[in-house]
């Protein structure tokens, strides 16, 4: 079964200001995006569980025009605080990359290879 990382064009996290962290999971086409949504591997609930957060702190968006899922949470630490280990917030998405997508019909990216768009 493919992982989310193999199906996604890009998975990233970033600051949305100094107090919010946002995650983007972008797909190459509508078909892959819809099938990942249908698989329910990534939902508000599953994200909250993986990141050990209360569900009401998780904002979950389906952005059809960009074939992307977006998730936003309060920043676990205020940007730049002593406890903050990631000033740009760019390395908090890693646990999403290896999530196994249970729908066996989902199309892999071109040639099944990872795309390295900048």
């Amino acid at each position: 079964m493919p992982t989310l990382g193999e199906l996604a064009k890009l998975i990233r996290s970033k600051n949305a200001g100094a107090f919010t962290l946002t995650f983007d999971i972008m797909f190459q086409d509508a078909e892959t995006y819809q099938r990942v949504l249908a698989s329910k591997v990534l939902t508000k609930q599953s994200f909250a569980k993986l990141y050990k957060l209360p569900e009401d702190e998780v904002m979950f968006f389906e952005y059809d025009a960009a074939h992307a899922i977006k998730i936003s949470i309060p920043r676990p630490y205020i940007q730049g605080d002593l406890d903050d280990g990631d000033i740009y917030g760019g390395q908090q998405h890693a646990p999403l990359v290896d999530l196994v997508v249970p729908d066996g019909n989902v199309k892999l990216k071109v040639d099944g290879l990872r795309r390295h768009d900048e």
């Binding site: 050990k52 960009a66 977006k70 605080d81």
Partner: protein, 457 residues
């Protein structure tokens, strides 16, 4: 049909752009040239210290090309969030660079500075009046917190910038401003649709971040009309696609559909993205929902003292299997040593020693789902914080030695438990700051928080 052409030189002044890309943009006769100068993305240091993030030569190179172009075209040039944090020190820095270039190139123009650093007495008054409200999430606020801040800025929208342009300013150096307002101002002044003006601005402000493959920071242009806008990167080898442009509202936004500005909200729920060619995109149906009142977001930074860091690796399995206990115990025992050195004048409340364990949960901290796993080695980053440099220095030096030899029960005799990659083992970070506000002010007058000064250069 109104058409306002807006040229964005780059996503950030100082990060550069290709000269030929920018020249192509100039040849298309934009009505305005703008460039964002700052962000909170690099942390609180720039707001706290007033020091810029990008290099002076880099910023000057970019500014020179923009100033020459605006002189040639006779159009306004707007730089926002000058000096990166957009406080008064940042505006002064950018003004100095601008005046230098003017002298070197023989350029003359009317310049406006629009400052956004906030007066603490004003903010305390607005706070007492109940006109400062927290965003979500927000740290606590009080008059004491306002007072102890190093610097506080308010993010201006388009109104103060339009005011400067109406007064004949040809170069406008803004303090902290929303990234979008720099690019939306002129289209709004000339009667373009508000939805297209603001949505186009959101894409322009990041330069070529909205292209399919971003080669490097570079110039991009928008044609803003009544009910749609077109967007195209200036480098002919770059391209925008409907998906790459749609994807852009994902970047650094909590909500991909709604973006709040001082005077309203950009609403992209109904936006439709159409390929005009293999590299230009037309965007329809973007809306701007005006709010009843102007709200100005505050950013504040306060000093947390001075810091020094110590980096040490641990490979010894017996230490690794009791790592937290070892780190906790050494800090508890170290308090007595601090008492000795400072003859009781520095107590546990006057300093802190923070540990970060790379190889376990250094990157994700409390979010790490795999924090129970650790490899055969870790890297520990110790951060020592105290009120001033001499105290921090003394504590850091002493602690490095203390931690190095801190024993474990398994071994009888003197051990060295940390592998320092360098000596001296500690590095001074200097004064350190933290962000302390995430609040909005509701002013009575949209101009009251910003100070405009006009000058002939």
């Amino acid at each position: 049909m109104t058409e306002i052409r807006v040229l964005s030189a780059s996503g950030q002044i100082g990060s550069g752009f290709i000269e030929s890309s920018f020249a192509r943009g100039v040849s298309l006769k934009p009505h305005v040239i703008a460039c964002d100068g700052g962000s909170t993305d690099a942390g609180p240091y720039h707001l706290g210290s007033g020091k810029p993030h990008f290099s002076r030569p880099g910023v000057k190179r970019d500014m020179r090309l923009m100033m020459q172009a605006r002189d040639q075209l006779g159009v306004p040039l707007i730089i926002g969030s000058c000096g990166f944090a957009g406080g008064d020190a940042g505006v002064d820095w950018m003004l100095e660079i601008t005046e230098e270039i003017a002298r070197e190139e023989g350029l003359k123009f009317r310049l406006a500075t629009v400052r956004s650093e906030q007066d603490k007495q004003y903010l305390k008054r607005r706070y007492r009046e109940g006109r400062i409200t927290p965003l979500n999430p927000a740290p606590p606020i009080s008059e004491e917190i306002i007072d102890r801040s190093a610097h506080i800025v308010g993010m201006m929208g388009h109104v103060p910038i339009a005011d400067a342009i109406e007064k004949g300013a040809e170069i406008i150096l803004c303090g902290r401003a929303t990234d979008t307002s720099l690019f939306a101002t002129l289209p709004l002044m000339k009667g373009a649709g508000a939805g297209p003006a603001w949505h186009a601005a959101k894409i322009l402000e990041c330069g070529t971040a909205s292209t399919v493959i971003r080669k490097r920071p570079d110039s991009i242009m928008a044609w803003v009309r009544d009910d749609h806008f077109d967007i195209e990167p200036m480098d002919l080898e770059s391209r925008c696609s409907p998906q790459s442009v749609a994807s852009h509202t994902l970047y650094e936004n909590a909500d991909p559909f709604l973006i709040t500005e001082p005077d309203g909200t950009i609403d992209c729920h109904g936006s439709r993205y159409e390929a005009l060619s293999d590299r230009a995109v037309r965007v329809h149906n973007s809306r701007f929902i005006k709010s009843e009142r102007t709200t100005i977001k505050l950013e504040g930074a306060e000093s947390v003292g001075h810091q020094a860091i110590i980096i040490g690796g641990v490979r010894e399995p017996y230490i690794l299997r009791q790592l937290d206990d070892w780190l906790d115990a050494m800090r508890v025992r170290f308090a007595a040593r601090v008492q000795e050195i400072f003859a009781g004048k520095v107590g546990p409340a006057d300093y802190s020693i923070h540990t970060r364990v790379y190889g376990r949960d250094g990157v994700m901290g409390k979010l790490e789902p795999l924090s129970h796993q650790m490899g055969h080695e870790v890297c520990i980053l110790f951060t020592v914080t105290a009120a001033d440099e001499p105290t921090t220095e003394a504590i850091a030096k002493t602690f490095a030695h203390f931690a190095l030899h801190y024993p474990i029960p398994e071994w009888g005799g003197l051990i060295s438990g940390l592998a320092f990659p360098m000596a001296p083992a500690h590095l001074s970070k200097g004064e350190v700051f933290r962000f302390n506000l995430n609040h909005v002010v509701t002013p009575e007058d949209p101009l009251e928080m910003f100070r405009t000064e006009l000058m002939e250069i």
